[in-house]
């Protein structure tokens, strides 16, 4: 057991706080671009409202508008794409990707004020992004989504992609995982041996090395195969690119995972994730797709484990930390930059911050726990034979 120190204090009172009523400023991934290019409009519930995504027929470009038509409130997601415009199902008002009314077939003229909100979009890595800013400004220089070369290369698999809606939790819960080394052992059954965070500007990175857990079967753990090295960065408030290198026999398998979300309401968000795997020499497209699907399944299992915790936990603004925990407060200080007005973003939120955990104690204790689990399994097997 750990040593206790200090004087006797009263019980700690949890400050649950209230989730923020505003939504983060930044690029938010809505999904794979190809999934929106089927000739139909798509409704997205996000940022406390509804959006509609549609592809202009002429230009082929994806556009995002407010879903509700400013004429009489019809839902454009139930409408029809007509040329480069989206037609409302209620009265056939036509809306262009720039938000201007492109025509009202039954009217002599289009009212001068006929504009709806067009959301700034970006297609990168074969995914669609939308820019959200409560102040209505453009993305600052340098705040963009980095290109992932594997997404455009025949040497890599295609994206796998999954969507999961989480109700009853604010999206800060998933961002907290960036610094939470110990939960990787207890929730995800992996075995971190190295763990470091760096926050700088709008990026938060987690550097981690983890080993497989010998007391877990492949189905129980994210890193069943061999030693795994991971470099995972949030580029802004919601889009994480995770580069993984896994030792499998003599080979190193390279994987890119995406973990991203967009908020639906203060207490609901949509989690999306997917994987790309680099083909090993001699690997066919089918085998690469299978490897990506396997990586994706590992991710899916991991998120289900997180969701099981989120479903029954409380929001906590004042976590009680021990000496081997990651920098939760500094992560939240970094995350705060996306929730304040741009002119309120302070240097303390964006100045580079590095935190390398001393994993020595955790590794010793965890190794003993794994050994004990293996021993009791051996005992059970022996008893079964006798």
């Amino acid at each position: 057991m750990s040593a206790r120190s200090g004087t006797d204090h009263g019980p700690r009172t949890i400050e649950a706080g209230a989730p923020p009523t505003r939504y983060a400023r930044g690029w938010h991934c809505l999904g794979l671009a190809a999934d929106f290019k089927d000739g139909r409009p798509h409704e997205i519930e996000a940022f406390g409202t509804k959006l509609v995504v549609f592809q202009a027929e002429g230009t082929g470009r994806l556009h995002v508008l407010d879903a509700y038509c400013p004429h009489m409130g019809g839902n454009l997601a139930d409408g029809t794409i007509k040329g480069d415009a989206l037609a409302c199902p209620f009265h056939d008002w036509r809306w262009g990707g720039d938000g201007r009314c492109a025509g009202i077939p039954y009217a002599h003229r289009v009212p001068r004020r006929a504009r709806t909100r067009a959301w700034r979009t970006l297609e990168e890595n074969k995914q669609l992004f939308v820019w959200h800013d409560p102040q209505g400004a453009s993305p600052p220089e340098g705040v963009t989504i980095p290109r992932i070369e594997g997404a455009f290369s025949g040497e890599w698999s295609d994206w796998t992609w999954h969507t999961l809606r989480i109700d009853g939790a604010n999206c800060r819960e998933i961002v907290d995982n960036v610094v939470d080394m110990a939960h990787f052992f207890y929730v995800h059954h992996s075995f971190p041996t190295y763990f470091k965070n760096v926050f700088e500007g709008h990026v938060a990175t987690q550097y981690m090395t983890s080993d497989p857990r010998e007391d877990m079967t492949a189905a129980d753990t994210l890193s069943a195969q061999g030693r795994l090295r991971s470099e995972a960065s949030y580029h802004g408030p919601s889009y994480m690119i995770d580069h993984l290198w896994t030792e499998v026999g003599d080979a190193t398998v390279e994987t890119v995972l995406i973990n991203c979300h967009y908020p639906v309401a203060p207490d609901a968000f949509v989690l999306q994730y997917g994987a790309l795997v680099k083909k090993l020499p001699g690997m066919s497209d089918e085998e690469a797709a299978q490897a990506a699907a396997q990586a994706s399944e590992g991710l899916a299992a991991g998120f289900e484990e997180d969701v099981a915790i989120w479903r029954n936990k409380t929001r906590i603004d004042n976590p009680l930390l021990c000496d081997q925990d990651g920098p939760v407060y500094q992560l939240r200080r970094w995350y705060e930059q996306f929730y304040v007005d741009a002119e309120e973003v302070g240097a303390e939120m964006t100045d580079r911050f590095e935190f390398e955990i001393d994993t020595e104690r955790a590794v010793t204790v965890w190794r003993a726990e794994v050994e004990a689990n293996l021993a009791s399994r051996r005992d059970a097997a022996t008893a079964g034979e006798g």
């Binding site: 980095p146 920098p327 100045d351 590095e354």
Partner: protein, 72 residues
């Protein structure tokens, strides 16, 4: 407790805490523009500046920085 440490290569001063020998906290209070290893790199795209790390280790050896053993 964070203590100031100045990098012997570029002269940038950062705040450092060593709770134990393997643990390190580095809080920058200025941009990384003078750092020969980090300047121009993607933000949070490089885990460590090895020269700053060497300066921290030197400060520890010379007793200008102490292991605190503190909590989170």
């Amino acid at each position: 407790m964070l203590e100031p440490v100045t990098c012997t290569t570029c002269g940038t001063q950062v705040l450092v805490e060593k709770r134990s020998l393997p643990h390190t906290t580095v809080q920058w209070t200025s941009p990384t523009t003078r750092c020969p290893e980090l300047a121009g790199c993607a933000p949070a795209g490089v885990a460590v500046c090895t020269r700053l790390r060497a300066s921290i280790e030197e400060a520890l050896r010379e007793g200008r920085l102490r292991v605190t053993g503190g909590d989170g």
